[in-house]
Amino acid sequence: MAHTIESALTAYLTAEQDRFYRLAFSYLKNQEDALDAVQTAVCRSLEKQDSLRNPDALRPWFYHILVNACMDLLRQRSKTVPFPETEPGQEDPPPPDEHLARQVEALPAEVGTVIRLRFYEELTLKEISAATGANLSTVKSRLYAGLKKLRIAMEGAEDE
């Protein structure tokens, strides 16, 4: 039994590694850090494989570990490298001349995660809820907050 979980997990991790790297890179914007985040998440997931109760939920379960690994590295980095402070809830749209991808990066962390997982990784809202540990209505409100912010920014861009 335990063995089938481990082999299913190993097969999944090997097959989907490019996706993990892209997601990590979108947070960390640095190859070495993104590789570290993926390796850490892969290692953690095997170590904690017993906590995967429902093998069908493998993907959101792993994304939870991966997103945490990325956020941890961002935080750790912000301890050493000065990092632009983003006050939570601050209504401060990203510069209008930026490409949408850059605007997604400028979103507050929880909102940015929902947007990435929904539009880049195409998870369902329910899977995002499992992947972030936030309940479904929180995920929804973060999604709409994110879309609203991005649309405001884009309308700003059209006014130029």
Binding site: L13, T14, Y21, Q39, T40, V42, R75, T86, Y120, A134
Partner: protein, 287 residues
């Protein structure tokens, strides 16, 4: 619905993120590390049961060893010969988000060497515990100071693992490694290798095992293995000597002895190779 078109462009750019060729090695390294860590947890659990059966297990809040316990433990030999190694402190506990999985070894034998080794192990273990608690507290502070929420923190936890394994035992010699590890954001590990001759009350050196030209024999074996690790594209995890890679072994180089007496030289992670290579080990053939 402009933003959805925009998203398809952003997604396209995202999907085109170049994938570095190290990725696959790093994922495989992560898989190996994770499998080992998972097995270590299971072994620990099993060992705790065995220990309990031998009346070994003590739940200790700190690392203070009571003399009465030390005396009782000494009656249960783990190894024969002139000495025995026993687990003097063994516990598995959680406190403030830290999981401790701890087995601290102690050597029981005549002679000053034994005392020194035990004292060093105790000191390293105490330092490691202190560092782990400090790292965890710093991490927690940084997490909330940079806008982390309770929800995101969730049930994050850190593992502190102290373990040892004996690689070779004869009537008079013992070779063992003590591992001190922290597992959380990044895994961190220290290993200390001990090779002791109890009949002579001293540490065994590579010179003892390999003879006068031990340096050349080690360097030849290690260089050959590094050369063999270069793949068709000229890639290897090992650094070049100019970039801080392997140059030579010396009196401080770590090693352990296999069951059959073969020495295995070990370098710390990152010392001579990229992190994905882990702790590189090189078997040095006996003449």
């Amino acid at each position: 619905m402009k933003q959805f078109n925009e998203f398809s462009k952003a997604k396209q750019a995202y999907d085109e993120t170049p994938i570095p060729r190290e990725l696959s090695d790093r994922v495989q390294a992560g898989i190996r590390q994770g499998q080992r860590a998972h097995r270590a947890r299971k072994t620990q659990a099993r060992r705790r049961w065995l220990s309990a059966a031998a009346c070994f297990t003590l739940l200790l809040a700190g690392l203070n060893l009571s003399p009465a316990f030390a005396k009782a433990a000494a009656d249960v030999p783990v190894l024969g010969g002139l000495f025995r190694i026993m687990t003097v402190i063994s516990y598995d506990a959680s406190d403030g988000g830290i999981n401790y999985v701890v087995s601290v070894p102690r050597l029981e034998a005549e002679g000053g060497m034994t005392e020194t080794v035990n004292a060093v192990i105790r000191e390293k273990v105490d330092q490691h515990m202190e560092k782990a608690r400090q790292d965890w507290a710093d991490y927690q502070d940084a997490f909330f100071a940079t806008g982390g929420t309770e929800e995101e923190w969730g049930n994050r936890e850190m593992d502190v693992i102290i373990d040892y394994s004996v690689t070779r035992q004869t009537d008079t010699q013992v070779s063992f490694v003590v591992t001190l590890a922290e597992g959380w954001v990044a895994s961190y590990e220290e290993r200390y290798y001990y090779n002791l001759d109890l009949s002579e009350d001293r540490a065994i050196t590579l010179r003892d095992v390999l003879g006068e030209d031990w340096v050349r024999r080690c360097n030849d074996a290690i260089s050959a293995e590094i050369a063999a690790s270069v793949d068709a594209e000229g890639f290897t995890f090992f650094f070049t000597p100019e970039d801080g890679g392997f140059i030579t072994v010396d009196g401080t180089t770590s090693f352990y002895l296999r069951e059959d007496g073969t020495p295995v030289v070990v370098f710390p992670k990152y010392a001579i190779a990229a992190g994905a290579a882990g702790w590189p080990e090189f078997e040095i053939p006996l003449a």
